[in-house]
């Protein structure tokens, strides 16, 4: 009995040790990824800085990265940076949630019922090519210039790619798997939630990432509707006051924060799709 327990505990320690080792490997791999991923941006920044110092780019058009960084730091010091980032991130996330929710409901519906597709899909597809700026006057008219109209505007941007990918995912689900569900007497809702959604998850997640990207893009249009804070506001301000360092600061902030939110989605994607039988890349 004792011997057995001892054995069990060795096994456990071993497992533990190997797990810890795994984690270490994982962490060092993560660091490697980050380093590799930073190479090109850093090279670009250095080239840009050098060209700016050599005055190949005139400063009033394209200031050096150090100047732009100075602008961002300045914003950080007077405290307004966090306001801009905070309010924009809030708007994007709220719009993202709203847009995704609507897209899931409508997308499952349209993907699943032929009649629904014939009724709604043509119109939705037509709306898809209306530019964000075109919505601005209509949104101001319908919803005024408060937060709701801004969030809805972003939700519109998020909606389309999510919707499109959900439908394509649903259509692509293997008939064979759906039949298993039917044999097990699942109703339509269960079919969607237990088979179709998981099976179309890869496509759905791509849609989410596309949608989030578009959400960030729609921020500018949203913040044209009477905002006095936010990254989109900063961008437009920079354009109106001909301040390239403000424009570039807002671009860089967009890129960084957009990348950050996308990275979160990417991690979720990797977790959620671990079951895919895919080739380990060379």
């Amino acid at each position: 009995m004792e011997k057995m327990e001892a054995e069990v505990s060795t096994v456990l320690t071993k497992e533990h040790a190997s797990k810890r080792k795994d984690q270490q490997i994982k962490r060092s791999k993560n660091v490697e990824h980050i380093v590799l991923g930073s190479i090109i941006p850093i090279i670009l920044l250095i080239v840009w800085e050098i060209l700016s110092r050599l005055e190949v780019f005139p400063a009033y058009m394209l200031p050096a990265p150090s100047v732009v960084l100075g602008t961002i730091v300045g914003l950080g010091q007077d405290g307004s940076l966090w306001g801009h980032i905070g309010i924009t991130t809030y708007r994007v996330l709220a719009g993202f949630v709203l847009g995704t929710a609507v897209a899931v409901v409508l997308g499952s519906f349209v993907g699943f019922y032929q009649k629904a597709e014939q009724l709604f899909d043509p119109m939705i597809q037509a709306f898809r090519s209306i530019p964000s700026l075109a919505w601005v006057p209509l949104f101001i008219l319908w919803m005024g210039i408060g937060e709701p109209s801004k969030i809805t505007m972003i939700a519109v941007g998020v909606f389309f790619p999510v919707y499109l990918n959900i439908i394509s995912g649903i259509i692509g689900v293997d008939r064979k798997l759906i039949e298993v569900g039917k044999i097990n007497k699942l109703n339509s809702f269960q079919l969607v939630s237990r088979i179709i959604l998981p099976a179309s998850l890869p496509s759905f997640l791509t849609g989410l990432r596309s949608g989030l990207g578009l959400g960030w893009m729609f921020v500018v249009a949203a913040e044209l509707m009477g905002a006095s804070q936010g990254l989109g506001y900063l961008l437009v301000l920079g354009q109106n006051t001909l301040s390239p360092e403000t424009i570039l600061a807002s671009i860089i902030l967009f890129a960084l924060i957009g990348k950050l939110t996308d990275w979160i989605l990417k991690i979720i994607e990797a977790r959620a799709l671990h079951w895919q039988d895919r080739l380990v890349k060379s």
Binding site: P58, A59, Y60, M61, V136, P137, I140, L141, G144, I145, L224, G226, A227, S228, Y233, V236, L237, G238, Q239, N240, T241, L242, S243, T246
Partner: protein, 306 residues
């Protein structure tokens, strides 16, 4: 006068502020309106307008009660049926001029023939360009007008993509200070004025409050005249521009006349004709009538009086 038919107090007053209207910034910064209406529990809500067209959009959609715009923009909107009145002139700005780079070889309006000129159709700089060409007798067809947003026009000019630019402050002040761009044609009188507009509805139901807002603007105007340096600082701070640009911009604003009068009326009619010729305003609109509808000096006259 109109102050007799008050319908009670509004719950709140929604004001716009804009970087092209320095007095609006001063007023917002100093909080004089808040002070004025605090006792009655009326809230003041400030909304930023990024441009004349935004201010008018906000007015039209009942998102603000007072909006600042260029006179010409207000006229176009009015011609489209917008229910607004101009009740106050916040400045006589020289915010637009024709700008070029030294290597373009342009020194007068005459040289523009056959050249590319960037301008934003429908805005004050565009009207300015048309009137300048008209003045010098150059047909519009001889000039290639390229429609761009103001900031983009400045970039295109410094990059050399266009030969001249119908500029707008503060962009114009900035290119003037930081690159070698020069203003080769200036004419204060071809600028339409800075109009403070109010929604007709608001003016009808709360005329007394219109007067009190105008009084607030007056206070800001007087303060700005007395403290040009501090005003420039406020502008620089709010609009995130350098103090030099802010000072240059302020210098080009004349705050002496605030009551809408005949000069404004005439300037707007001239602008309206140009816009009609440029097909921005419909040909069958009666410019004089529209202008008279738009400009309503009674509030300012009553408040400022003499």
């Amino acid at each position: 006068s109109s102050s007799t038919s008050t319908e009670g107090a509004p719950e709140k007053i929604r004001m716009d502020y804009a970087y092209y209207s320095p007095t609006s910034l001063v007023l917002k910064e100093k909080g004089w309106l808040e002070e004025e209406f605090e006792a009655e529990g009326i809230e003041i809500e400030w909304v930023l307008s990024q441009g004349s067209n935004k201010a008018l959009e906000f007015l039209n959609s009942n998102s603000v009660d007072f909006g600042s715009s260029a006179g010409a923009a207000a006229l176009i909107s009015k011609a489209n049926g917008a229910p607004i009145n101009n009740v106050y002139i916040y400045s006589k700005p020289e915010w637009t001029a024709l700008v070029t780079m030294p290597e373009s070889g342009i020194s007068s309006v005459k040289d523009l023939a056959g050249k590319k000129v960037a301008a934003t159709i429908g805005t004050d700089p565009y009207i300015f360009l048309l009137r300048a060409l008209n003045e010098e007798g150059i047909p519009v067809e001889d000039v290639e007008i390229i429609n761009m947003q103001h900031g983009d026009g400045a970039n295109a000019l410094t990059k050399g993509s266009v030969d001249a630019w119908a500029g707008l402050d503060p962009n114009m002040a900035r290119v003037e200070l930081e690159s070698d761009a020069s203003l080769f044609y200036r004419n204060v009188d071809f600028n339409t004025y800075g109009f403070l507009n109010v929604r007709e509805d608001f003016a009808k139901s709360h005329p007394e409050y219109v007067n009190r807002v105008i009084a607030g603007y007056e206070k800001a105007r007087e303060w700005t005249l007395e403290n040009p340096k501090e005003a420039a600082e406020i502008l620089a701070e709010e609009a995130s521009i350098s103090i030099e640009v802010a000072q240059l911009t302020l210098e080009r604003n004349d705050f002496s006349e605030a009551i809408p009068a005949d000069v404004h009326h005439d300037a707007l009619i001239e602008a309206g004709k140009v816009l009609q010729a440029g097909e921005v305003i419909d040909a069958n609109v009666d410019i004089e009538e529209i202008t008279s509808d738009l400009i309503n000096p009674s509030f300012a006259e009553e408040t400022i009086g003499d």
